[in-house]
């Protein structure tokens, strides 16, 4: 008995379980044509190779299953791994897919997360509802992630992650990084890195009062400071994606 408790005590010192939240990109697959899928995946990765290199990834099978595509999970996984991405889970899979995933050591995430996927795919709809419906009856909004508001400066070396929209009321210093699954607003100078729509929301936008950023990115499409022309610097702009390229426009 005492022997046992000694062992446990010793064990308790050698490890500790902690809960942490990580941001992991989610890949939505919507086809059963694996060779087309592979081609597009590689194209996508080549747009931002550093972002995707050895990136962890959750594979979302919702579209495939809704459209009743028959896709061999093992083949799909092989294509993704070949592209250099590391699958750390699947979600919205059916029983067979879940079983196959577990067999090759891929965790299965509960399907309840589906709602948020739907939201990410249709952000405009959600936003319109947000703007118009008064606080009482808003069943649609319940699962939507609250906006994060930061009122103090974000300094070099600091990193902020927001699961929804991110509003920063103070400056973002060079060497700081702000990341949001939704839109980013900076009501001051943006000198650090700003990444909006990091879960793949191509409708996400960045708004700032004074663009001096080191890097801006929407859904993985990025520009570094060097790519920003003088005509867009040091003034209020909005940044959005159009046909896969970043557009920077004055806010009038």
């Amino acid at each position: 008995m005492s022997q046992d408790s000694k062992k446990t005590a010793k064990l308790a010192n050698t490890l500790e379980f902690k809960t942490s939240t990580f941001s992991v990109p989610v890949l939505l697959v919507a086809t059963d044509d694996l060779s087309l899928f592979e081609k597009q995946l590689v194209q996508k990765i080549n747009q931002a190779p550093e972002f995707f290199k050895n990136s962890p990834l959750v594979l979302d099978l919702q579209e495939i299953n809704i459209q009743n595509h028959k896709v061999d999970l093992n083949a799909l996984v092989a294509v993704i791994r070949k592209a250099g991405l590391l699958i750390v889970g699947i979600r919205a899979g059916n029983d067979l897919q879940n079983k196959q995933a577990l067999e090759i050591g891929i965790p299965v995430y509960p399907a309840q997360d589906r709602e948020s996927v739907v939201e990410v795919k249709k952000p405009i709809r959600v936003q319109v509802v947000k703007a118009q419906v008064p606080t009482s009856t808003r069943p649609d909004i319940k699962e939507s992630v609250p906006t994060t508001i930061i009122t103090h400066p974000i300094r070099s070396g600091q990193r902020i992650y927001a699961a929804g929209d991110l509003i920063v009321m103070a400056q973002v210093s060079a060497g700081a990084e702000i990341i949001a699954e939704g839109n980013i607003h900076v009501y001051s100078s943006l000198r650090g890195r700003a990444l909006a729509g990091v879960q793949g929301d191509i409708e996400a936008r960045i708004f700032c009062f004074d663009l001096q950023a080191e890097l801006i990115s929407i859904a993985g499409n990025y520009k570094v400071s060097e790519d920003l022309s003088v005509s867009v610097r040091n003034k209020p702009v909005q940044i959005y994606l159009q046909d896969g390229s970043l557009i920077i426009k004055d806010i009038v």
Partner: protein, 269 residues
Amino acid sequence: MARVIVVTSGKGGVGKTTTSAAIAMGLAKRGHKTAVIDFDVGLRNLDLIMGCERRVVYDFVNVINEEATLNQALIRDKNCNLLYILPASQTRDKEALSQEGVGRVLDELKKDFKYIVCDSPAGIEKGAHLAMYFADDAFVVTNPEVSSVRDSDRILGLLSSKSRRAEQNEEPINEFLLLTRYSPERVKLGEMLSVDDVQDILSLHLLGVIPESKSVLNASNSGTPVILDEKSDAGQAYEDVVARYLGEERPHRFIEDKKGFFRNLFGGN
């Protein structure tokens, strides 16, 4: 209530120790019992600036390790009997400092002193972290150049996230900017950032601008804090800093270069 002030910067050689010595002396001369601690374990030089290097028996690490009492280690300043110096050890490294130990020494000092000034080492490692961890107020010492400003910004981030006040969700540390080694002529030549440039990047309450001055070297050679050299520009600038910290309003005297100042006065350009 005692207040713990950290003098910090990230970058080395910007004037932290010079500043720690000056403001500790300034506070003590105004009647506040003040202790100044050298956190730069292994590289001690606060005692040189304070001119007490030949009276060091015990040091900060001895007190933390309970090899000496605080009273044994504190050195009373030769110019002001309300000022005490706790020197750093030259024979240990920063690993000798522990958070628990530093907290214990500060708590003991707080019983007896009004202000406790912590002279931080450079960098963002253990020594710098412990110097800032227990602070109530922070003097962020910055030189008017990009790398120093960037390091100060980094330190400000740590003050607001890795300090005791941040971790325990208390009122944040009061952060003040001290721009040192400022040379209006070199600003005009474009060789240095201006006060406005620095303020634009850091947006911080400006406690004072200390001009680049020969008097600082003279003071350190003679082992007296420059604030005691009342005729010197740097001494006066530190005097203003202490006054502003204690709530007085003083105009900034050393931002303009003299010629520029008169030109502005007469409305020219």
